[in-house]
């Protein structure tokens, strides 16, 4: 020990800012997350590790929700509908000012990609954790992004570059003509959209007007902007996206790509990193295209450039999401960094860290494989319709190489007003085969009652030989799952009948460690339950 110790260096060789062994001063004292559910909890975790106090916001449907329980403080926004709570930028800024929060992290969805919200946060003298409002406007508007990517020489999915004039009955013929030139089947997409909302597939001209109306209505409800455009549906295709991170000085790096091809109704179900089967050169070209699009828009903070990979191994630019993605965790597991922490540091004005630069250098030669499944309150036997309800039992997996991002707990209500995602289950291992083995193990540990979840689908995929052989095209679930589910569900129903019959008969034999204690559990109030192996 000396009186004036030389500045120490951390593992990566970069000078540490720690002084005299004391904790590093957090970049912000207090941070508000303008979101709910697992992503709010995810951001709070990074804050905790950095010594930043946390503020949650909530609607009347979320008074006792997990993200409220996880925060140091919580502020009510309003009634359950998102338009009266989580989409009320004014109330959120007011909550930040009232609680002394200096920064606002938007999570994903809700206001995350609304340029006006980012601008309002800035105008209030607070820090928005994300790209500048100008960048959100330039990249978040999918039509503007398509024009910008074209200008940067990146191939975009064929389609229109201007919004369809849906409110002009006299323009119907013009819309149909441009649809014919794009070619059917095509997609009607919301310019402000994301996550499959405000999107409709159209097979022929007859279906176009209804699709335009439906997509515009959904987009207006979800994003407050009903602009829609047309895009050719490239099939078969894989959905591959690149994680980007940029700093205020204009440096932008790619931190690897993700394959998110397993989708249903344009909602991602399974994501993995890296994308299987890409050569080092393909990977490098893809990352380079993504960086070019982001640099043209002056990206600061985290964003994701989405591409389609067609059968001829060509990449087509789709859009840029100027936010943290739901599936950011698989990249974190492979690249070995914390994207939320880096976002917060960047927002505080720091340049890209040594950890980020090192990860970017290794991004074309990934040495691990990570897979995420989205456990949602949806019925995989009925077209994945949302099934809100109250969670009964709730057992999440753990152990080596397993990460669970969730805000849910036993007894929580999954409200019908919001996204049905209840947990993200992630695994990481040395390669894809081992990651799939680990995923199957983790999902076998997972149990949820009270609500129907997508767990049966994920258990199936973890052992499906087709999925094990390589990534499946985007339409796989629509084309194959309905058949694949039958035998599994039939076997489960037979076993369920037995479990029910034995439990009601109160049989104390080997087959029924199912009743509680030999008394008559059926007259008890509440949801008291017995959980055992059935049958042995």
């Amino acid at each position: 020990m000396t009186d004036a110790p030389a500045r120490s260096t951390d593992a990566s060789g970069r000078p540490s800012l720690r002084k005299d062994g004391g904790a590093r001063r957090p970049p912000f004292t207090r941070l508000l997350v303008a979101n709910r559910g697992e992503i709010a909890v995810r951001v709070f975790r990074a804050c905790r590790e950095m010594g930043i106090e946390t503020v949650a916001v909530f609607s009347d449907a979320d008074v006792t929700a997990g993200h409220v329980r996880a925060a140091d403080r919580a502020v009510r926004l309003g009634p359950a509908p998102a338009g009266e709570s989580y989409l009320r930028g004014d109330a959120i800024v007011a909550a930040a000012l009232e609680t002394g929060a200096e920064a606002i992290h938007p999570g994903y969805g809700f206001l995350a990609e609304r340029a006006s919200f980012a601008a309002a946060v800035d105008a209030a003298g607070l820090t928005f954790i994300g790209p500048a409002s100008g960048t959100i406007a330039a990249l978040g508007d999918k039509l503007a992004a398509r024009r910008s990517a074209t200008a940067a020489g990146v191939p975009v999915v064929p389609g229109t570059l201007e919004p369809a004039p849906i409110d002009r009955p006299d323009q119907v013929d013009a819309v149909i003509a441009s649809a014919e030139s794009v070619g059917f089947p095509l997609l009607v997409k919301a310019a402000a959209g994301g996550g499959g909302r405000g999107m409709r597939r159209v097979d022929d001209a007859a279906g176009l007007p209804a699709a335009l109306d439906a997509a515009a209505a959904e987009a207006r409800a979800a994003f407050g902007d009903g602009s829609v455009y047309l895009e050719r549906e490239i099939r078969p295709a894989r959905h591959i996206e690149v994680q980007l991170l940029g700093d205020r000085a204009g440096a932008v790096v790619a931190l690897g790509e993700r394959d998110c091809s397993l989708q249903r109704r344009h909602q991602k179900l399974v994501e993995e990193a890296p994308a299987p089967g890409l050569t080092r050169d393909e990977r490098r070209d893809l990352h380079e295209m993504a960086v070019r699009v982001a640099q043209a828009a002056g990206l600061e903070s985290a964003a994701t450039a989405e591409f389609l990979l067609d059968d001829d191994r060509r990449f087509w630019f789709l859009e840029v999401n100027t936010r943290l993605q739901v599936e950011h965790g698989v990249t974190e597991l492979v690249a070995d960094l914390d994207l939320v922490r880096e976002q917060i540091l960047i927002a505080a004005g720091e340049p890209l860290s040594a950890i980020v630069l090192g990860a970017a250098e290794r991004a074309t030669e990934p040495e691990r494989h990570a897979i995420e499944v989205r456990l949602s309150a949806e019925d995989p036997a009925r077209d994945f319709i949302p099934m809100p309800g109250v969670i009964g039992d709730w057992r999440m997996p753990s152990g080596p190489g397993v990460r669970v991002d969730t805000a849910a707990a036993a007894g929580d209500r999954v409200p019908p007003e919001y996204d049905p995602l209840v947990a993200k289950i992630l695994v990481v291992d040395a390669d894809r085969d081992r990651a799939l083995d680990r995923l199957a193990r983790a999902l076998a540990e997972t149990e949820v009652s009270g609500i129907q979840t997508t767990l049966p689908f994920h258990r199936h995929m973890a052992v499906d030989p087709g999925f094990r052989a390589g990534p499946l095209p985007i339409d796989w679930v629509d084309e194959h799952w309905a058949e694949a589910l039958r035998p599994r569900r039939e076997a489960a129903l037979e076993a369920a009948r037995w479990a029910a019959a034995a439990a009601v008969a109160n049989i104390p034999a080997r087959s029924t460690a199912l009743t509680l204690d030999g008394s008559t559990p059926w007259i008890r109030a509440g949801r008291q339950r017995a959980i055992e192996r059935w049958p042995r």
Binding site: I385, A492, I507
Partner: protein
């Protein structure tokens, strides 16, 4: 003391859906259990003073709500209601909500003749808009909900005749 049969009838509360029969008879003392080695979660929902117990069972991630009833008693009830059921096949069809949510749009009014598959309502749940279609051709007898209305599981939405 003579052994009493504990043969029961186990029925799904909702339609069986893909890969499954609605009801089956089981004697847990005598019949062979299915060779599944999965974890089951069993929870009593209601004790049913009418002799019908409602149970939630989750097997391999699939969640079922089942009604368990003495098989002989179930048969009696079935006979008693058979004539009623026969009348109902041609009678009015109630279309009920299968998810809680909000009615985003109503596309029919009472008196409309509809084809099978015609969109009746659009229900918004978890930010997704779901179209509710006519299960068969018929005439709309009644629209039980209005635009903007919040609906719960099982609510009657439209009655067809």
């Amino acid at each position: 003391m003579a052994a009493v049969s504990r043969r029961v009838r186990v029925s799904l509360v909702e339609a069986a859906g893909p890969g499954g029969r609605d009801a089956a008879e089981i004697d847990p003392d005598a019949d062979e259990a299915p060779p599944a080695s999965r974890t089951a979660i069993v929870a009593p929902l209601t004790a049913g003073r009418d002799g019908r117990s409602r149970v939630e069972v989750v097997v391999d991630g699939w969640r079922f709500e089942l009604v368990v009833e003495d098989a002989a008693r179930a048969e009696l009830r079935r006979r008693a209601t058979r004539e009623e059921d026969a009348a109902a096949a041609d009678g009015p069809a109630e279309i009920r909500a299968i998810i809680p949510g909000r009615v985003a749009a109503v596309r029919v009014v009472a008196g409309d003749a509809v084809e099978a598959g015609r969109t009746l309502l659009i229900v918004e749940a978890m930010k997704m808009q779901n179209e509710l279609r006519a299960p068969r051709a018929g005439t709309v007898e009644r629209v039980a909900v209005g635009e903007g209305q919040t609906i719960e599981n099982g609510d009657v939405l439209v009655v067809l005749r």
